[in-house]
Symmetry: C2
Subunit: 210 residues, 2 copies
DNA sequence: GTCTATAGCTGGATAGAC
DNA sequence: GTCTATCCAGCTATAGAC
């Protein structure tokens, strides 16, 4: 790697830290105005600068959303990655779900940006998206290693967990009405997964609904 | 009731049908532009009129959202109300969940308006909200009559169903990837509800998460 | 790179003639 | 009630001086 002189490296480092400062200010704005309420004016004011300066660092407003998405995806990956102390399947699933729920409830706009599609014209770039995909794949792998590998069961678990988070956020924000159901929901889920196959093949696509 | 002459009744009927025509046009607009993409200009064009005329029938844009919410809530109540042929608990739960999911997937903006809080400054009026509350209460009563009455279990079921719908809509729109899991999810849920109480009181609030 | 100033557009809502 | 015309606020984004 002899691509840059020391001076260009300094420049790039300064540029990167300036970009980071803008993204930090962006998180502060959406925390108050909501994810869709981010405006370039507010952001410039909050960052102590003006809109043309923002455009010197980001080509568009969506580029800022994308940088936020990248930060969030990275944080998500780091939050899910640390090794799990527990060994038995129930404990691993519980810890995995617990981490996801804790991460989601910790920062609502971050959750909306990462996992809901709520910003009108925004699609994350492949680079930003990659972190989120990796983290989710890791989680899937971890579940597979403790025996939860059936595709249907994984889809059921994602529906269950996202439903839990969504209900908690929209019907009891700041409370614990649905969060406290985690253990019981996971117990229900694991009991079901460990149950022997049904006679007659009632699942796995043979039978249609209704 | 001697409040109005025949002529004022005619006027009110005409006025109501004009309002209905505007609301119908509004549904057509959101079907194309998304729920948040409704603009008074587009709506006026679609309804074959102009914006001042809209304001002759509705005091604000949110008043139009409210009329849409009222229509949707009424439709939801009518969709859930008809008597159920089935008697045994599993079949009743299955039919109830099936109706909810079918109604939700049938019209996505309608689902978003009714059950998600996605329109920025909009809160439904008490009158419009009443229909939705009634329909949900009826559903709860129906479940209670077949033995699903525990508050925790009801919250679990709502999380499960909304999670199912949300995953289906956002990760496989138009498909059946999560819809086909309905029977298995309900079987799992019912198995859990019919299970005898745990020894030691591990649920019902004694034990906190983590 | 950073500013002032503003272009260009779209939104909700209204004035006033008819 | 319905129109033409318009106001005013907010937005993203840019031109051009320094």
């Amino acid at each position: 790697m002899t691509l840059g002189t020391a001076s260009t490296e300094w420049r790039q480092a300064r540029r990167q830290s300036a970009r980071d400062a803008i993204v930090d200010a962006a998180w502060a704005v959406v925390a108050e105005a909501g994810l869709a309420g981010l405006s370039m004016r507010d952001l410039a004011t909050r960052a102590g600068t003006t809109t043309p300066t923002l455009y010197a660092y980001f080509g568009s407003k969506n580029a800022i959303y994308d940088a936020m998405f990248g930060q969030a995806a990275r944080a998500f990956a780091e939050h899910m990655a640390p090794e799990y102390q527990e060994r038995d399947p129930a404990a691993v699933v519980r810890e995995s779900v617990g981490r996801f729920v804790a991460f989601s409830l910790d920062d609502v706009p971050r959750y909306q940006l990462l996992f809901q599609r709520t910003v009108p014209g925004f699609e994350p770039s492949p680079e930003s998206y990659a972190y989120a995909v990796t983290a989710l794949d890791d989680t899937r792998g971890r579940l597979a290693r403790v025996g939860i590998s059936d595709a249907r069961h994984l889809d059921m678990l994602t529906a269950l967990v996202t439903g839990l988070v969504d209900q908690q956020l929209s019907n009891d924000p700041g409370g614990r009405r649905w969060v406290r159901l985690i253990d019981e929901l996971i117990e229900m889920f694991l009991d079901h997964c460990q149950r022997p196959e049904r006679k007659g093949g009632s699942h796995h696509g043979q039978r249609q609904n209704r």
